[in-house]
Structures are given as C-alpha cells and as structure tokens.
C-alpha cells in the first residue's frame, strides 16, 4: 500500500472538499452577483425583484458611468496617483533598503531604530493632517503620494531579501570599478526582480485602494479618487438603511445597476490582473519569512 499517494477519498475528504467548495462559493458569489446585476438592461430592471441573472443584458450602466466627467476624472486621478506613487515607492524603498544593508555605514543603526520606531508609534491622524495642511498639500494628489512614499515593513522585508543575496557578485563588480550606485543598479536590482515585482504589486494595490487618506486630504469633489467616488455612490445614498432611491424615476437609469457598475469598475483592475500575478503576491509575503 502506498501510504501518502493513495487517492481513494474517505468520507472525511468528501466533507472537507464540500466545505471548501462552500467557502470558495461565499467568496465568489458576491462578485458574480454584482457583476451580473450591473449588466442588467435598465428598461427591464425591476428594483426589489430578486434574480441572479438579469432578464436582459446591457452595458448601459457602464456606458453612462464612463460618460460622466466625475467618473472619468476620478479614474484619471487614481491612475495618476497609482502610477507615480508606485514608481516612487519602488525607487525609494529599494534604494533605501540597499543603503541600509551596508553594515559599516556610520549612523545606520540610528536610521534603523528610527524606522522600527515609526512602526510602533505614530503621531496619529490629526498631527499628520495638520502637517499636510501646513505644507499646503490639501486637495493635491501629492498629499497622497508623498505621505505614503515608503513604509517600515516593506523596507525591512526588502532589506532582509537583499541581505540574502550572494555578496560575491557585488564584490566582483566593485573590483571591476563599479561605484556603489552602479552595483545597486546593475547587480542588486536585477537580482532582486522577484522582490521588485511583488512590491510593485503591493504598492500599486495600496494606492488604488487607498480611501482614508483621500478622504481627509481631498475635500474638493472634482479631485476625488475612484474609491471616494464609489463610496459616495454606493454607500452615502443609503447610509441609514432607509434609502428609497432605487428606480423611482423611470426615465433615469436605475441607481442600483449604476452603483453596482461603479463597484465593479473599482475592483476590475485587481480582478483582471490577479490571476496572472497571484504568485508574485504570495512570493512577496514569503520574501519576508525567508530569513526569519
């Protein structure tokens, strides 16, 4: 009898598979439902009628959302913040992490202590807000980018990843006359590509999803990011649980399909890239525990 390779499923296995299937469904169904209803044809959509699949399919809600200035603007600003923010995140985090791998650098311990300290203690919401206000960054996208340039956790994970790289290559490059910055760009970064990929994703997702910073730093509705706009569309229209907006006006598009379409647009980029990039996300998490 082959002990571990046996494929015969016991009753316990069946129960386990069945439970996992149920769990997977509770994770999948909300997406499928929201995507399905957001595709409803406005003319045949009946509020308060329960169905899983629309009577008639149509992209009307998406057409409408993507034709409004407020939605397009928020999309543009979110893309801007995500792209610029992520590039700066990666550049600053990786260069700082590499700098901190140099154990002989005077002041290194002080900087590391400072970094760890910020992980444990932070000034709180209001002092951070006052700083951004005093810098004149309110209602500027730079407030969102600059306040999240890097973070202690990413730095420490990237640093310990770089410390696990074989030092011989960097030494050889230095002997060949490379400067320390040359070593960083030509040797360390190419060797760190798995970490670069993982952290690019982490940073990009964080920027795309950022809500609270946008809420406090951007008060001008014309500057809103996608998450702020979606929150207003989806939640504020029914914040007391007694909203009665849906579909009272037959000439307009039903609010409900619009609200769902806006949620779908906010999660779509992640849903689209996720299956292809999942392994990098997982790898990113594993990076941290390599040495620990």
């Amino acid at each position: 009898m082959s002990l571990l390779t046996q494929k015969r499923l016991t009753i316990g296995d069946w129960i386990n598979y069945f439970l996992l299937l149920l769990i997977a469904l509770t994770f999948l169904l909300p997406f499928l439902y929201v995507i399905s209803i957001s595709l409803s044809d406005p003319k045949t959509f009946i509020p308060l009628e329960f169905r899983l699949i629309p009577a008639k399919l149509s992209l009307a809600s998406y057409h409408y959302l993507l034709s409004t200035d407020s939605f397009l603007n928020s999309l543009k600003s979110t893309v801007f913040i995500t792209v610029v923010g992520t590039v700066l995140n990666v550049v600053i985090t990786f260069s700082m992490a590499y700098g901190l791998t140099k154990k002989t650098m005077p002041g290194r311990n002080f900087i590391l202590t400072l970094v760890v300290f910020t992980m444990v203690f932070n000034a709180g919401i209001v002092p951070n807000y006052l700083l951004v206000k005093d810098m004149g960054l309110l209602d500027s996208y730079w407030a969102l980018i600059l306040t999240a340039l890097t973070n202690a956790w990413s730095l420490i994970v990237v640093k310990s990843f770089m410390e696990s790289l074989p030092p011989e290559l960097a030494d050889a490059a230095k002997i060949d006359g490379c400067t320390d910055i040359g070593v960083f760009i030509r040797i360390i970064i190419p060797l760190s590509m798995p970490a670069v990929a993982a952290f690019t994703l982490f940073f990009a997702v964080a920027h795309w999803n950022s809500y609270f910073n946008a809420l406090i730093y951007l008060s001008d509705p014309s500057k809103w990011t996608l998450q702020l706009l979606v929150k207003t569309l989806v939640i504020d229209s029914d914040s007391t649980g007694v909203g009665q907006i849906a579909g009272t006006d037959q000439t307009a598009l039903p609010q409900e399909t619009l609200r769902m379409a806006s949620v779908v647009l906010a999660l779509l980029p992640i849903l689209v890239v996720y299956p292809f990039l999942q392994k990098y996300f997982v790898k990113g998490v594993m990076l941290g525990s390599i040495k620990g």
Binding site: T26, G99, I111, F121, I270, M286, I290
Partner: protein, 336 residues
Amino acid sequence: MILRLLQEGGVHTLNQDFNQPMAAAPPLPRVQKGRLQHLWKQVLIHRYFYLLVLPGLLYFILFKLVPMWGLLIAFQNYSPFQGIWGSTWIGLKNFHDLFTYAHFYNLLRNTLIINLLNILLYFPVPILLAIMLNEVRHEAFKRVTQSIVYLPHFLSWVVVAGLTYFLLSTDVGVLNKILHSFGLQQVSFLSNSKLFWLMITLQSMWKDAGWGTIIFLAAIAGVNPSLYESAVVDGASRFRQIWHITLPAIRHVIVILLILRVGSIMDVGFEQILLMLNPLVMNVGEVFDVYAYTQGILNGQISVGVAVGLFKSVIGVLMVLGANWLSKKAGNEGIF
C-alpha cells in the same frame, strides 16, 4: 496580522545587526588619527550609500517624526490661527476631559469588544482553513481554492463595504429582496446596533481569513513528510495526524501571531468601521480613531483629536511592548 509576523521575521535579522559592533572599519593607517577624522573618512567611503538612503530618510523624518511635534497640541487649547507657539497651554486638561467624558468608555468598550470578537472568532479561521487546504490531495482543486480565498485581501474596504451593502441593505440588499419576494417585512441589518460587531467581524473574516492561511500553509509545508508516513504506519487516522503532527508544527506561529494580535488590541480596522458606520450604529461602532477624525478634522476640535490619538498610540506602544515581553517569556523570539 500577517504583516506582523513578517516584521517578526524581518526584525529578527535586523536585531542581529543591532548587536554587531558598528565599525568593522578597515585598519587605520600608521598615523593615529582623531576619532572625528576617522568618522569623516567612514562617511566619505559610504557617501553613495547615504545618497541611496537619503530620500527615504527624509520621508521618515518629515512625515513620521515632524508630526510628533504636533503632539504638543494635546496639552494646549489649540487655535489654528495662533499655531503651536501662540496657543495657550492647559496641561492635562484635554485628557482629564477625555477620561471624565462618559463617551470615552463607549469608545474603549467598542474598541475592546471588536478586538476580542476578532480574536475569538476570526483568529482561529485561517488556522482551520489552512489545515483544511492542507488535507486536500488534488493539487488543482487546492490551487483554485487558494486563489479564490486570497482574492478579497486585495480589494479595497470601499469595495468590500459596497458588497456588504448589496447583501444587506434595505434598498438593494439581496437578503431583503429575498424577504420581499416571500412577502416578508424588510429588515435593516445595517442600522441594527445588535448586529454591528458581528457584521464587522464577519467582514474581516471574508476579506482577510483566506490570505491569513499563507503563513500557516508555509509552516505546514516545512513538516517532514516522513513524520506523516510513520504515523500512518502506526495506524494514526487523519485526525490524529492533524492533531499530533500538523498542529504542533504550526503551534509556534500561532503563539506569535496571537501575542502580536493581542499587542495591537487598540487598533481597529479604521477604514472598515468608518465605512460601515451610520448614525444608528454610532454608539456601538465609534472607536478611538473615528472619534479623533470626527472631532479633530471634521469638527475642528483639534486639541481633542490629538489627545485621543496620543492616548491611543501610548496604550498601543505599551501593549506591543507587553506582548513582546510576553513572547520572550513564552520562550519565543521577541520582535524587538
């Protein structure tokens, strides 16, 4: 939570660095130079490293250290027009007001209950899920399930809150549509203060429990398969294998994560709570950060907002240090 464990992993290596003597400097030349001169030479040698560190360091100083200056406001009757220099000092009055304010205990209660529920109900789920996933023998089934349960971790709280509305709200919620189709009275789940804590816990579970399995799956993957083989030879059932091999293998990780979780008991998923709050559940949902935000930023009570934030941060640090001490006491490596 996972982040915490990773910090643990990362900081562990960092700890070793702290213990190393600072200067493994090249031997000094014949002439005995002054310490300052030697230091200057070291700085010059490392000039490119400073250049690499500089932008990040500036960030930490400007956006992490400088705001701490603003904590002084907690001891002032702050007026934005007079600034920190011009505002009057009132000592601990803001804190006195905070502690004598009946509302304060509401904030404390909500914070603690939401966290305790999280520890009791949420914490075991990733462990259980990891064990269940580990028992799956079909790689494809396992991979697909993993992909699906990790996914919500990458959604924003706005999207998760939105999905919750589409499930529970009175106007667009699926549950109410079903009730309606049976001709039943609609229920406003989202403004029911009795359900709020449970809903927050379930929401956290949905979003992060799947992602939380990674760390346990990694620990389980490190178990030597021969242990299971000999257990089978000894006639151990699957349950006994889980109990005697799998669980002990991840016990260490569980203890560390639990201690860290207790250490962050002052932290509540703030974006999450803020998104789910409405006037009807305010009394059960308001936590320290929400209060700091509404008072300090929305209502212009800046000193109150800063004081609440400072109180929370100080207790938070004490809890983390306490948890770290406990972790060392329990025979684990500390985080610092």
